[in-house]
């Protein structure tokens, strides 16, 4: 190993692990001790990454408050050192971290709230794609509608949340007191996407969530309607399917249709 490589390894260990070996290679300045000067890098590391988490998870920060959020943030920084050159992606593992590690895993709403914010962040700067218009669908003759398949917009993502995190998110966003966190009997089925440059989400009825998930896999419209018929009144299944499809198109959730 070269001197430079060894020095950089020592320097990094000094920041990440608090190892003082690197101090032997650093002089005091004429005004300050080396411990204090090197401490600038030690402090900046944690505070910069926690600040990045605050920026990406503004509402989780609001929910937990400064002290708890920063404690959680430093635990995440320690457990998941950044491996990506772009700070944009540092917080990507936060939902999974909160769901897997006590004491945060004892409060499932934290992982859910982080997952919702992460999905909205991802929708904000996710890939661009065409927006399907009603006219694009209407041009197909009725007799081939059963064969139509649909492509979700690249920013569209589905989440199943076990808590009332969506309601808590809305309250926090509106500067209102959030409701108590509760675990739901049935998961909240959430669709996240970007509409006119704004990240959006809404909770889907169980059969619409099923239809979305299957449509995203390329199941044609006729089969989707047959699947809907198993959830509720079979007679109205085609109408319900057309209604859900209309909603997806008019809110910009789809990018393509094919027969």
């Amino acid at each position: 190993m070269s001197d430079l490589a060894r020095q950089q390894a020592d320097f990094q260990r000094g920041i990440l692990a608090g190892d003082d070996a690197v101090l032997a290679e650093i002089p005091d300045s004429d005004k300050e001790k080396r411990e204090t000067l090197f401490g600038v890098y030690r402090y900046a590391y944690g505070s910069r990454l926690v600040e990045a988490l605050r920026n990406d998870h503004e509402l989780l920060h609001g929910y937990l408050g400064d002290e708890m959020f920063d404690e959680m943030g430093h635990a995440y920084v320690k457990a998941r050192p950044s491996q990506h050159p772009n700070l944009r992606w540092f917080s990507q593992g936060l939902p999974e971290f909160l769901r897997a590690n006590a004491p945060y895993s004892d409060y499932p709403v934290l992982g859910d709230l982080a997952a919702l914010e992460k999905s909205l962040n991802d929708a904000f700067d996710g890939s661009d794609g065409p927006i399907l218009a009603l006219a694009d669908v209407a041009k197909f003759a009725p007799e081939i509608w059963q064969d139509l398949t649909f492509t979700p917009h690249p920013t569209a993502a589905r989440l199943d949340l076990t808590t009332n995190a969506p309601a808590i998110w809305r309250a926090l966003k509106n500067d209102e007191t959030p409701p108590d966190a509760v675990t739901l009997e049935e998961p909240a089925r959430v669709l996240v996407w970007r509409q006119d440059n704004t990240p959006m989400f809404r909770e889907l009825p169980v059969e619409e969530a099923m239809m979305w998930d299957e449509a995203a896999k390329g199941i044609p419209f006729g089969v989707l309607c047959s699947m809907l018929a198993t959830y509720d009144d079979p007679e109205s299944a085609a109408g319900r399917g057309a209604g859900y499809l209309h909603g997806w198109v008019t809110s910009g959730c789809l990018t393509g249709v094919a027969a």
Binding site: S2, D3, L4, A5, Q7, Q8, A9, F11, Q12, I15, L16, E25, I26, P27, S29, D30, K31, E32, R34, T36, L37, F38, V40, Y41, A44, Y45, R48, L49, A52, P81, S82, Q83, H84, P85, N86, L87, R88, F90, A123, F124, D125, G126, S127, D128, P154, T155, R194, N197
Partner: protein
């Protein structure tokens, strides 16, 4: 320490391929999202903008769309924070490809990053970490700059960073290191006036010695920024207006380097756009005072 002999000992090539010096752009500002609407609705009197490259190394959406609109109105320069040019870890070629793709899209007047490293062993500390000024480090960084410039297909500019520590094994000064690096690799220099002031205070040397040690023909850009004074040391926080001492050093830099594209860099505690425009106007006025009116 015999600085001259150590510099001489470093391996020398026949010299880099020299590219044309980037144009003088005037007086600019770091582009920050807080000012997007005001810039697009008001066309403020700023000659050019510098973008943080990584902020736009994303798949799509509003950041890239806004960038396209601003690019249609103003010259742009790309400034990165993650090149990690001095790291002994292998270069991150995925990052470099992303940088190259963004440069292809933005067509910046030039592209810059910092003389520093940000991590080794697969980790990124997201900080501009210092290096020892040794012949070994110089050889290493020269070879990395040449590789990056070949990969990107364009020269880069490297900025002097604010540092809080020095290394016992340094064999030359920072300005000697930068001079040799630029001469041997062909990279341009981004002279951060505030960083010179900060490092000079922290390490107890005269900032004018640094300034006079940099070759005038290699500097393509000035950064002006604020800092936080801790009494025994200064931290480069970019969250304050430029202080009077740094303005004085800027005047000295103008005398030495002449007309150099200059920008105000604010990264935190972002004020209303008008406050930053006033600082940009002061860079312009000071340049005219020192160098005379800009040629039309």
């Amino acid at each position: 320490m015999n600085v001259a002999s150590k510099v001489q000992e470093t391996s020398r090539s026949d010299g880099p391929r020299q590219s044309a010096k980037p144009p003088f752009l005037g007086f600019g500002l770091g582009l920050r999202h807080q000012h997007y609407d005001e810039i697009l609705s008001g066309n403020p009197p700023i000659d050019w903008f510098e973008i943080i490259s990584e902020n736009y190394m994303v798949p799509g959406g509003q950041p890239l769309q806004t960038l396209e609109k601003i690019r249609a109105r103003y010259p742009l320069v790309m400034h990165g924070v993650s090149l990690s040019i001095a790291s002994t870890a292998p270069p991150n070629f995925e990052y470099l490809q992303g940088l190259k793709d963004l440069a292809h899209r933005v067509e910046p007047k030039w592209l810059s990053d910092h003389l520093c490293w940000t991590g080794v062993h697969g980790k990124n500390l997201h900080d501009l970490l210092p290096i020892p000024y040794t012949a070994e480090a110089l050889d290493h960084v020269v070879s990395r700059v040449q590789l990056v410039q070949d990969f990107l297909g364009r020269p880069i500019a490297l900025e002097n960073v604010s540092t809080y520590v020095q290394f016992n094994n340094s064999e030359m000064t920072e300005w000697e290191f930068l001079t040799e690096l630029s001469r041997r690799s062909g990279c341009w220099l981004l002279f951060d006036v505030n960083n010179v002031y900060v490092s000079a205070f922290n390490h107890g040397y005269d900032p004018l010695t640094f300034l006079n040690g940099i070759p005038a023909d290699r500097v393509v850009q000035f950064h002006m920024a604020g800092h936080s004074h801790m009494g025994t040391h200064i931290i480069d926080t970019h969250d304050h207006p430029v202080c009077e001492d740094v303005w004085a050093l800027y005047a000295a830099a103008l005398k030495r380097f002449g007309r150099v594209s200059t920008m105000i860099e604010r990264d935190d505690n972002i004020p209303p756009l008008d406050e930053l425009i006033a600082e940009v106007e002061r860079t312009r006025a000071m340049a005219e005072q020192v160098l005379g009116p800009a040629p039309r």
